[in-house]
């Protein structure tokens, strides 16, 4: 295979550069107090963007809203998704297709569509512009992801461990806490991380449901044109969970 090989080394390097480098502009733009055209580097660095992102009050509140909604949605999704993933993973259903379809559909339909439709009911229930409403609406997409990502945890291996614990006299609660959850921790971590990221990044649903309770993406978007420095500073906050996710994935990759 020495002749006619693909030049994979150069391709790999180009791919890495093209995909990793552009993100760095955020760090520069966030601290560029003065950056006039056509200079390639900012004329003056400073903290105006950070102050603008946090001091307006909206930024800090939106950050807290986004974080609270992401955590609550993910916790709820793990709670609801765990038993469903067990039923699917242990092949307990003779026909799993309808359930799988119900899980896949919310991921394929534009989330702004589901969100807009949900407002019909949420208006009547007083759930629009509330945290509970945002959590429920985000659950429409987070629950499918979490259930699918929990699937690999279940199977004959976990079943055996649980049977052994049962023979040893452990009750259901103890089996869950001491056997099932530790054995499934990799899947739980992945599901929780991705679930939280999906909620954190959600734009369409949040715009439809929670105009009065802004999340980070909602308040960030108008700044991109009006004040790039503030937008970039917000973007750095917005990026933080993704960085955590990458670091965790990298660590898991090395441990494997």
């Amino acid at each position: 295979m020495t002749r006619r090989r693909l030049p994979t080394g150069a391709l790999a390097a180009t791919a890495c550069l093209l995909f990793a480098l552009p993100l760095a502009v955020l760090a520069l733009q966030a601290f560029a107090d003065e950056w006039r055209f056509p200079s390639v580097l900012p004329q003056r660095l400073g903290l105006r963007g950070l102050h603008g992102a946090l001091a307006s009050g909206a930024g800090g509140a939106a950050f807290a809203n986004s974080a609270e909604v992401a955590v609550a949605t993910t916790a709820l999704a793990l709670l609801l998704g765990w038993p469903a993933a067990r039923a699917l993973g242990e092949r307990r259903l003779r026909r799993p297709e309808p359930l799988l379809l119900l899980i896949a559909l919310p991921l394929l339909v534009p989330s702004y569509a589901t969100g807009t439709g949900l407002t019909t009911w949420f208006l009547r229930l007083g759930l629009t512009d509330s945290r509970a409403g945002l959590v429920l609406a985000h659950l429409t997409v987070v629950l499918p992801y979490v259930t699918l990502l929990l699937l690999p945890a279940f199977g004959p291996r976990l079943r055996e461990l649980e049977e052994m614990a049962k023979t040893a006299g452990a009750g259901p609660a103890r089996r869950l806490i001491q056997v099932s959850i530790p054995a499934a921790r990799a899947s739980i971590a992945t599901a929780a991380l991705i679930g939280a990221l999906v909620s954190w990044s959600q734009y369409g649903i949040s715009l439809a449901i929670g105009g009065g309770l802004p999340t980070l993406p909602i308040i960030m978007l108008p700044f991109v044109r009006s004040d790039p420095e503030v937008a970039a500073a917000m973007a750095l906050f917005f990026l933080a969970p993704a960085v955590v996710a990458l670091a965790a994935a990298g660590r898991a990759g090395r441990e494997r």
Partner: protein, 272 residues
């Protein structure tokens, strides 16, 4: 299965099933009701649907969304395949660098695109004036670029897990028998990556079709995508806009489901 076991299974799937049915089906039913009721407490009428069908702007939006979804998916798949073939067998660092955009929210990628590609942006500063406009251009090139940047690494990750060690062994076996790289690609690599690629493309295509925050930032004002058409409708007319938006979004939902059915059908056909 004993009756008791069946009961346990039902109890296991009931919570998630009920919640998803309520939220997802409830959302779609809510959208249908909205599309039929102009204003609060108004009478049921199909006027929003008639307006939608007659509006050339909506047809333009539908076509624009379809085109973006197709272009973004095809280009992402191509870049992902080349990148996956180049990256396999390499260490964690290059893979991580390439995978950087995967967890980054779409809105952030669109923001980065504006900083780089808008007139007076970083690309203009580095290269002089860009010959073409990539942000807010009526052809939607900026939108497609954002999707390729965000989704190609995602597809590549799916492909990399399919290009595992067992495939390497089969390739080596084929190479020993004198196959060159084109033959390897056609007969060994392609069959292995076809299914994950189809599944990934389905997700990317459906997502790009319903795209919302990316065209809001880097897309043109006209034509809108179906989702931004819906948003524009609610902003221009507070009373008639809501049913019109709901109707447009229902068309988008139906189209996403059609794409899904088509791709699953094609993947099945390829598998036989």
């Amino acid at each position: 299965m004993t009756p008791r076991e069946r009961l346990v299974t039902v109890a296991l799937i009931a919570p998630a099933t009920l919640v998803l049915l309520l939220l997802f089906a409830g959302g779609l039913v809510g959208a249908v009701l909205q599309s039929l009721r102009p204003g609060l407490g108004g009478q049921i009428s199909g006027s929003a649907w008639r307006t939608l069908v007659d509006d050339p702007g909506f047809r333009a939006a539908l076509w624009f969304s379809t085109r973006i979804a197709l272009e973004a998916t095809a280009l992402s798949a191509l870049v992902a395949t080349v990148a996956a073939l180049a990256l396999r067998g390499r260490g964690t660092l290059p893979r991580t660098l390439f995978a950087l955009p995967v967890p980054v929210p779409h809105l952030l990628v669109a923001t980065v695109a504006v900083f780089w590609l808008a007139p007076g942006g970083l690309a203009d500063r580095l290269a002089g004036a860009l010959p073409i406009s990539l942000v807010r251009d009526p052809a939607g090139v900026g939108i497609v670029l954002v999707y390729v940047y965000k989704e190609a690494p995602f597809l590549a990750l799916l492909l990399l897990s399919a290009l595992g060690r067992r495939l390497r062994e089969r390739e080596e076996a084929a190479a020993v028998h004198g196959a060159d790289w084109l033959q390897l690609l056609r007969w060994v690599v392609c069959p292995a990556i076809r299914r994950p690629l189809a599944a990934g493309c389905l997700i990317v295509g459906a997502f790009a079709f319903g795209s919302f925050e990316v065209p809001l930032l880097v897309g043109p004002t006209y034509p809108p995508t179906v989702a931004t058409y819906a948003l524009q409708a609610t902003q221009t007319d507070l009373i008639q806009g809501q049913p019109l938006a709901a109707a447009a979004l229902l068309v988008a939902a139906a189209a996403s489901l059609l794409i899904a059915t088509a791709v699953i059908g094609i993947a099945r056909g390829l598998g036989d």
